[in-house]
């Protein structure tokens, strides 16, 4: 949203510091210890994902310990060994790389395309806007994962196609969100002022309306990554995404189904990995929303 008003109603507020949007955000965000922890955890996950190849104690796909098949967690194998003799900890680390990349890329593509469509649909309400909104209504007529399954059925199995599918079904949500924002922003005085000095449409849209929509997009982006990681993992679980032996978390769980009774740790650790990762993104998203939404101020 637009920068917070300079006049502060609270008498206790320091008069010498100017509140930039960033300072305001940080002031609210650091008061939420849980969100801070989640943010730190996400940071750690990203670092682990980037350096996974250097961190793994064993090769995720080509290491087989035939003397330790199905062994539970031990000092040598922190998360135990799977029925093929592979080290589960190493596989989870490499899997983090796949899941985070899939979640991030698909949401980024969905957010960029959706934001652009939303800007156009909100600014030009005529036939272009109508067309874009009809298109997103149709995408909404399918339950999310069904749409993804349909797209993967057409494109074929594989992680890249899963990312494409998840990106496509993120587009309409961002388009609607941004359009709603634009509709409320474009009648504000500062936009009118831009019109009156003869600024071209694209300058107004990109330099004056887009920044106003960014807070919502960032919050939604963070929350959406969690959902996308789940959807991508679900598709792999259904056998449509990453294929064995790729250590994608959903695919690992699918492989573990057969050995649930004898070696539960093979299923428990990938489950926990997905749960904690998605939880961190969701908690972080909640925290960002509470610190970026100007409506939630007084408490």
């Amino acid at each position: 949203m637009n920068p917070p008003p300079a006049i502060c109603t609270s008498p206790a507020a320091p008069t010498d510091s100017i509140r930039t949007p960033w300072a305001e955000f940080w002031r609210k965000f650091r008061r939420q210890p849980v969100a801070l922890v989640a943010g730190a955890f996400v940071g750690l996950l990203v670092l682990m994902a980037i350096f996974a190849p250097a961190l793994v104690p064993f090769h995720a796909e080509d290491y087989f310990d035939y003397d330790a098949l199905n062994n539970p967690p031990s000092w040598q194998h922190w998360f135990g060994v799977d029925p093929l003799g592979r080290d589960i900890f190493s596989r989870i680390l490499v899997g983090a790389r796949i899941s985070l990349a899939a979640g991030f890329i698909s949401v980024a593509v969905g957010a960029i395309v959706g934001t652009l469509l939303g800007l156009i649909a909100g600014y030009y309400e005529g036939w272009a806007g109508q067309l874009i909104m009809r298109f997103s209504d149709v995408l909404f007529a399918f339950p999310g994962i069904l749409l993804a399954i349909g797209i993967v059925a057409i494109l074929g199995n594989g992680m890249v196609n899963v990312v494409v599918a998840v990106a496509i079904f993120s587009i309409p949500t961002f388009a609607r969100l941004v359009r709603g924002n634009v509709l409320s922003l474009k009648h504000l005085t500062y936009i009118e002022a831009q019109h009156s000095i003869g600024a071209p449409d694209w300058t107004i849209i990109l330099r004056h309306i887009l920044p106003g929509t960014m807070a919502t997009v960032v919050v939604y982006f963070t929350m959406r990554i969690g959902t996308s990681i789940i959807t991508a993992a679900s598709l792999s679980f259904l056998g449509m995404g990453a294929q064995p032996p790729t250590p994608e978390w959903g695919a690992m769980l699918n492989e573990a189904r057969a050995d649930m009774v004898t070696s539960p740790h093979v299923a428990i650790f990938p489950s926990l990995a997905i749960f904690l990762t998605v939880l961190a993104f969701n908690v972080l998203g909640d925290g960002l929303r509470d610190s970026l939404d100007p409506k939630i101020d007084q408490k």
Partner: protein, 306 residues
């Protein structure tokens, strides 16, 4: 009311037509020749041509589309490539297990979600709220297939209390519907809470308190009804989520439903089954959202249908 219903039904037409076109085109977008798929990989070219004629795939695209639509309206989607049975028969036996699974999941998750959300809003920022919201955010973060496997491990494998696979008795419904409903319960709880928190600050709630009504009467009679309005919309959206979720949960629990039918069909490129189930899933989703819109009128008397 009737006029509104008719208007809404007509409004559905364009969406339904586009969905039908997409589902129809899906056959032609699928990799591989559908006639070759139907005939089998070893069939000689003459047989493939015969099958092509038999399926009507040698006609022009608009002609095929008309045939598809007129068939679909009568519930005729042709024969499954995998089992050679009528698609309508396949779906008929798979429909009810999925219907009841989603129904029971929705029933428990909405009840529990509403209860948790209400309690959290009334005791806002105190321990019932915190516990409820920890449950809620965990619920939306635990993917259904992982939760299903963990529940199965605990209650079926370790404790042996409940059956793990299949859909024979009511006991079989417990674990899958718990798994499927968890995320919805969590979303409903979060949504009810935020809707309730806003309502509790309204003037009429203060008035109700000021005239000396007891807190339970204020919460249940004055606040709950108003808080329900946005919650009901959310319910409609969640049904779509459940329909989608059932696809995954059915695979975990080997449930003989529509979701597994679809997944198997995608695997085998069994396009008549894919078309019929995708169409049915979307139709269900659209109809449920319509019902939810109509439900509004009963909860919120200020809405007039025009």
């Amino acid at each position: 009311m009737l006029r509104y219903l008719i208007k809404r039904l007509l409004g559905l037409a364009p969406t339904l037509i586009i969905v039908a076109v997409l589902v129809f085109l899906c056959v032609h977008l699928l990799p591989g020749d559908p006639a070759r798929l139907a005939a089998g990989p070893d069939a000689p070219p003459e047989t493939v041509e015969l099958v092509r004629k038999d399926l009507g795939l040698d006609r022009s695209i608009p002609e095929q589309f008309l045939r598809f639509i007129s068939g679909a309206v009568r519930g005729d989607f042709g024969k499954s490539i995998r089992t050679r049975r009528l698609v309508s028969a396949e779906i008929a036996e798979r429909f009810w297990p999925t219907f009841w699974l989603t129904f029971w999941s929705m029933a428990w998750s909405v009840t529990v979600g509403l209860a948790i959300g209400t309690v959290a809003a009334v005791w806002r920022n105190r321990w019932p709220d915190r516990i409820g919201m920890v449950f809620a955010i965990s619920g939306i973060s635990f993917p259904a297939f992982a939760l299903g496997m963990v529940l199965m491990e605990i209650f079926a494998v370790q404790l042996g209390w409940l059956p793990a696979l299949g859909a024979e008795s009511w006991k079989h419904y417990i674990l899958p519907s718990l798994t499927l409903g968890a995320a919805v319960a969590a979303i409903m709880a979060r949504f009810t809470r935020s809707s309730f928190v806003e309502i509790l600050q309204e003037d009429y709630v203060r008035t109700a308190r000021a005239k000396g009504l007891s807190e339970p009467v204020v919460v249940i009679k004055h606040a709950l009804r108003n808080a329900l309005i946005p919650v009901v919309t959310m319910m409609g959206l969640q049904f779509g989520f459940l329909l989608g979720g059932s696809i995954v949960v059915e695979k975990v629990f080997n449930w003989p439903g529509m979701g597994r039918l679809l997944v198997d069909a995608v695997e085998m490129r069994d396009y008549p089954v894919i078309q019929a189930s995708v169409l049915l899933f979307s139709l269900e989703f659209i109809v449920i959202n319509l019902i939810v819109d109509l439900l509004y009128g009963f909860i919120n008397p200020t809405i007039r249908y025009k």
